[in-house]
Symmetry: C2
Subunit: 350 residues, 2 copies
């Protein structure tokens, strides 16, 4: 375990914890006393049919979802819906390498898959809240991976699904990109196979990781139009150091690696022996597939190819030059499009 002031109620709260005594993991490990951190907004109605589940992305927590996506008058409106944002395992609020006691934490934290998260979330929403349906599952990036996993694994429960800027089966290209992110961290001698004394020992690796996020996370148009200046940074160096690096440098390297490993292997086709068509054919949720138009991680063409395999789904790309990181919400027009699509999806009878 390492102390980390970033992963606290002060920074990300308020959130609640739900404990699963022993989460059996698909790769064979066990998470004992697994904690799922979640934040909820709004009230569950008597029919229990107004629940929305939002899983989180790589490095993200329930806080940015709350700040950027949830609000009265928005699509994700807590005056209408009971919204549960669940932090993925490894993100620092839920059970993660940095907060798991020895010997199971840090570099010994077990391999976790998207399916493990979704089974844990299923236990939370069924046992804690007594839900038997979700009006919507929506998430971006790794949140989209979890959304797809929900829709394929529990089709009877998921009424609507909105995977944003993510895929059902990760591509070879994105797998390789993520490997370069992992390499950036693990190659730092201070990483010490995950048993560093302090995340600061991995400072250089985290900086390299942040730069690589900057290269692929936005878009070439973002750079061409000098969007970083519009976001308040005087130069590219200023942007790299005081935005990209500032964002990641407070996080725990093992936590990031736990999520990266999971991200690389997101793949609903595992349910059907590798047959993606058959897996996506199981989806009964009304689904809007929503890539970001300039996303270099999950390009629209990759998302479109999957959309064609989902019964009765709609392809709703979001136009933006902010690339994958339009998820951060810095492009209000992208947020507006996303809200409009979600509002339409939520209004659909299913």
């Amino acid at each position: 375990m390492t102390e980390n002031a970033y992963y606290t109620q002060d920074v990300h709260g308020p959130y609640e914890l739900y404990e699963i005594e022993a989460l059996q993991l698909e790769e064979g490990g066990t998470l004992r006393g697994c904690q799922l951190a979640y934040a909820s907004f709004g009230e569950l109605n008597a029919a229990k049919d107004n629940a929305i589940l939002i899983p989180t992305w790589y490095s993200g927590t329930s806080k940015i979802i709350e700040d950027v996506y949830i609000g009265e008058g928005r699509a994700l409106d807590p005056s209408k819906y009971f919204i549960v944002v669940v932090n993925q395992i490894g993100n620092g609020l839920s059970s993660s390498p940095h907060n798991t006691p020895p010997p199971g934490g840090m570099g010994n934290f077990p391999r976790v898959r998207i399916g493990d998260d979704v089974r844990a979330q299923h236990q939370l929403v069924t046992e804690k809240f007594g839900l038997d349906s979700l009006a919507l599952v929506v998430g971006g990036s790794m949140g989209a991976q979890q959304t797809y996993e929900w829709a394929v694994r529990y089709p009877d429960m998921v009424k609507r699904a909105a995977p944003v800027a993510g895929t059902a089966k990760n591509t070879a290209h994105d797998h390789l990109f993520t490997e370069t992110l992992v390499d950036a961290i693990t190659s730092d001698p201070g990483f010490n196979k995950g048993f560093y004394a302090s995340p600061a020992d991995v400072r250089e690796g985290l900086l390299r990781h942040a730069k690589m996020w900057a290269v692929m996370g936005w878009s070439t148009e973002f750079f061409q139009q000098e969007r970083h200046k519009a976001l308040g940074f005087s130069s590219m160096d200023d942007f790299i150091v005081n935005f990209m690096n500032a964002y990641f440098s407070v996080m725990d390297p093992n936590n990031l690696l736990c999520m990266a490993w999971k991200w690389q292997r997101g793949d609903v086709s595992r349910h059907v022996g590798g047959d993606l068509r058959a897996a996506l054919g199981r989806v009964t949720a009304k689904t809007f597939v929503m890539p970001m138009s300039t996303d270099m991680f999950f390009p629209p063409a990759d998302c479109e190819a999957e959309w064609r395999l989902i019964p009765d789904a709609e392809f709703r790309p979001i136009q933006t030059i902010d690339g994958h990181l339009a998820l951060f919400g810095a492009d209000p027009e992208a947020l507006g499009q996303l809200d409009a699509h979600l509002t339409e999806l939520l209004a659909m009878k299913v």
Copy 2:
């Protein structure tokens, strides 16, 4: 100096050497006894108006240009033209960190700019060959940077210009990507600030560098269509280890870093106080701007923006899913398009 069997006549010959006694560098250094390695094909005619100059790209040498681009019946036809392929400084055949004697070599090799290469090349073609015009300057990637530099610096001499898959002024995005490549090498403890005993000491850094080339060098469509299998590799791991890594692992890390520094800073606007429009306005060569349609280093949109600033130029993108590395020539249809454009350009009266 380090021995390196890769940078030899056996692998890259035959090539000749031209010596410049002391090349004064724009950054203030001096290359004493600067060697320019070049290969020539065909014969100079009596009018001395059939010369074509081809500068090289990052990591490339005159050999791949010869193998992939030059041939009878091709646009670059040695039965019609006197073709000189000049190896850029730092590429391992011309003066480079690995072949410069101490104390000026390895980690002490001076900073070289695109403009230094082009001035050295100018001396070669004017003094050695007595040329006062070039029918065409054509090059890919860093070869395109040198092509633009030629057309802006020596407009009276360059009759036609064909920058392929490269820009006149490097973008902030590409600069940052290249920085991550540099980081991949310099972060290897074996790099030792450029004073390694053997390039093998930097093996892990070179492997990380090769993976990052794989992520950005091709395209997401390349991966989606599993082009690596069509190229003879059984899996992505096979492709990374036995193609991307095999290609770079024989090279000298300091040589790559010398070229990367130069690549990051390619910018013809330096001639006019940063005014790119004014710099490109100096071009009198008939110019075809030829990006690769899926290039992630030098995206078509970036090349198109520059094309608009060049008098009477034509925008001729090459359709391919091989991305930037279509330059390697694995997509015969891309080569066919390129040949057709060059043939048309060479036939134009100027």
